[in-house]
């Protein structure tokens, strides 16, 4: 039912004018609240339906809004089903608990600790006596919120058995105690190359205590 808008000026009755103003003010608040709550509910419904975007309030493409074209185009429904299936596969692919993310220029490589497919984090070249540094991003995709994860490293070994001890690696922050579900955290990694280290390539891993599926291969180049 159409709601009349109250005129804001009533001749010969100043109080009526004030009442009209108060009504307009209240109406502004109520109407705005209704609009924003409607939008939020629409977004929730869209999220439950796993659409990439919330649906528009009024279909703008001639469809009837339920995913099928008003003209009965069956191809549209097929396209929607395919999009939903792709989204489901994407969600299954996110089942690892933590994802390392190498922040190396634009060529970014995700490291999946569960299936062992991993790109290496490259540190160096660094001269003996200096640190080889780099950084990674960690993203918690699943798991108990707030679970702390302390980072540590294995020893780094070269092809000839030469080694850099695990304790040469340090992390900032060392303990990810604010790590929460769906959050991201940048971690700086530094490996102090010993003065006596021989030039060459050393391999090792970064691990996260409490997260057994996670491992990030690391390659350190020690300069001659």
């Amino acid at each position: 039912m159409e709601r009349p808008i109250v005129p804001d000026r009533e001749p010969f009755d100043p109080l009526a004018g004030l009442r009209a103003m108060a009504d307009a003010q209240r109406r502004g608040l109520e109407t705005a609240a209704a609009v924003v709550e409607r939008m939020l509910e629409l977004s929730r419904q869209s999220a439950r339906g796993q659409f990439p975007f919330p649906l528009p309030a009024e279909p703008v493409d001639g469809s009837n809004g339920d995913g099928a074209d008003a003209t009965g185009d069956p191809g549209r429904e097929v396209r929607r089903l395919r999009a939903d299936a792709e989204r489901l596969l994407e969600l299954l692919g996110e089942s690892v608990r933590v994802l390392f993310d190498l922040a190396a220029d634009a060529a970014e490589a995700g490291v999946d600790g569960q299936n062992g497919i991993a790109d290496e984090l490259l540190l160096g070249p660094a001269a003996p006596g200096t640190p080889a540094v780099g950084r990674v991003w960690l993203h918690v995709l699943d798991g108990p919120p707030g679970a702390p994860a302390r980072l540590n490293a294995t020893a780094f070994t070269a092809h000839d058995g030469a080694a850099i001890e695990a304790r040469a690696a340090s992390f900032e922050p060392p303990l990810l105690d604010t790590f929460a579900l769906r959050s991201s955290q940048e971690v700086l990694i530094a490996v102090q190359v010993p003065e006596a280290a021989t030039p060459g390539v050393y391999h090792g891993h970064i691990l996260a205590a409490g997260l057994p599926e996670v491992g990030l291969p690391v390659r350190i180049e020690v300069a001659g």
């Binding site: 159409e2 709601r3 009349p4 808008i5 005129p7 804001d8 000026r9 009209a20 103003m21 108060a22 307009a24 003010q25 209240r26 109406r27 502004g28 608040l29 109520e30 109407t31 705005a32 609240a33 209704a34 609009v35 924003v36 939008m39 939020l40 990439p52 975007f53 919330p54 528009p56 309030a57 009024e58 703008v60 994802l99 993310d101 922040a103 220029d105 634009a106 970014e108 995700g110 991003w137 993203h139 995709l141 929460a180 769906r182 959050s183 991201s184 955290q185 940048e186």
Partner: protein
């Protein structure tokens, strides 16, 4: 609002604006063709502006625990897209003035202006991709989704408004107006910068719904204020063509109120006015509409309606920022509410 607070907010806005313009300039190529493209691209950002959007984004990011640098690419992307929208909107609306000077298409012609607007959209994408280096792919992807959603909402709102004007739609309610500006204005002016700032600052941990409420109330009250200034504001201060919305036939809250209140011949006069093309609307026609708005109390109704929403914005801020500890950025955001709702330019 006191003069001290006003100058403090404006100083912060100027600081955030300068930071954003510096960041934004990195994405505008310093190369040929300057005269026909890149100089035009730099034109609107170079004219200044209030920088409300980047300021909201940057301050929110810091208030929620982040660093300004982390949010700068997102702020620059938003500002670039905002300028792209302005270029294209000015053409769609046949506007003559932008930030106190002739619109881009008025100075350089429609084809070059459209092309410059397209370039601004592309540059916004470049800025957005820089988030991957600073924030990692997951958060950057989330922000990218937010950006797409914001752009889509804005374009939907613009389509709806242009459609109303083309089809001569007059049977509208304040609810329709608010729904329109939720899409067309609020999402990209306030809601998106707040959401993205909070995502960056909290590393994706914050509930975004309270920010949607705060952003909408703030953006709606701001837009209503803007609509009023368009009719009763000082053109020199306001920087846009006085009564430009009326010349363009926009369905503002004042016009919607007038359409519902005007009787007989007056209503028919309003409908005739809205059915005209822009060039047909004379200063006399526009003055008649302003007089009718005054007569039927449409300006006072709009003021009061906006005031109700402004009060909701203040309450919604306290909810959205309840978990955020006191900081200069939080205080700036709080003070920005009053500044946005009491401004005259």
């Amino acid at each position: 609002m006191s003069e001290v607070l006003t100058s403090s907010v404006e100083a912060d806005l100027a600081r955030y604006g300068a930071m954003t313009r510096d960041a934004l300039s990195l994405y505008v190529p310093d190369m040929e063709p300057r005269r026909h493209l890149w100089d035009l691209v730099a034109e609107y950002p170079g004219r200044g502006g209030k920088a409300i959007r980047p300021a909201l984004c940057l301050a929110t990011a810091v208030a929620f625990g982040g660093e300004v640098d982390e949010a700068l690419p997102s702020a620059a992307a938003l500002e670039l897209l905002h300028n792209a929208f302005l270029v294209h909107d000015d053409i769609e609306d046949a506007s003559l003035l932008r930030r106190g000077r002739p619109t881009l298409h008025a100075e350089h012609g429609v084809p070059l202006a459209i092309n410059a607007g397209d370039a601004l959209v592309v540059l916004a994408g470049s800025a957005l991709r820089d988030n991957r280096r600073r924030l990692g792919s997951r958060l950057a992807s989330r922000i990218g989704d937010e950006f797409d959603l914001m752009a889509r909402r804005t374009i939907e709102g613009q389509a709806r408004e242009l459609g109303w004007r083309r089809d001569g739609v007059c049977d509208l309610e304040p609810d329709d107006y608010l729904d329109l500006i939720m899409h067309k204005t609020c999402w990209y002016t306030t809601i998106h910068p707040l959401r993205v700032g909070a995502l960056i600052g909290s590393l994706g941990r914050v509930d975004l719904d309270p920010l949607v409420r705060f952003g909408f109330y703030l953006g709606a009250a701001f837009q209503i204020r803007d609509d009023l200034l368009n009719v009763v504001g000082d053109e020199a201060k306001y920087g846009k063509e006085s009564c430009g919305d009326l010349y363009e036939g926009k369905r503002t809250l004042m016009i919607i109120h007038l359409l519902r209140q005007a009787r007989d011949d007056d209503r028919r006069a309003v409908e005739r006015f809205l059915a005209m093309e822009r060039p047909q609307r004379t200063p006399g026609d526009v003055a008649e509409m302003v007089e009718l708005m005054r007569h039927y109390g449409s300006l006072d109704f709009t003021r009061a309606f906006g005031l109700g929403i402004a009060e909701a914005a203040t309450d919604a801020f306290e909810v959205a920022f309840a978990a955020v500890s006191d900081s200069p950025e939080r205080r700036f955001l709080h003070d920005l509410i009053a500044w946005m709702l009491e401004r005259d330019a």
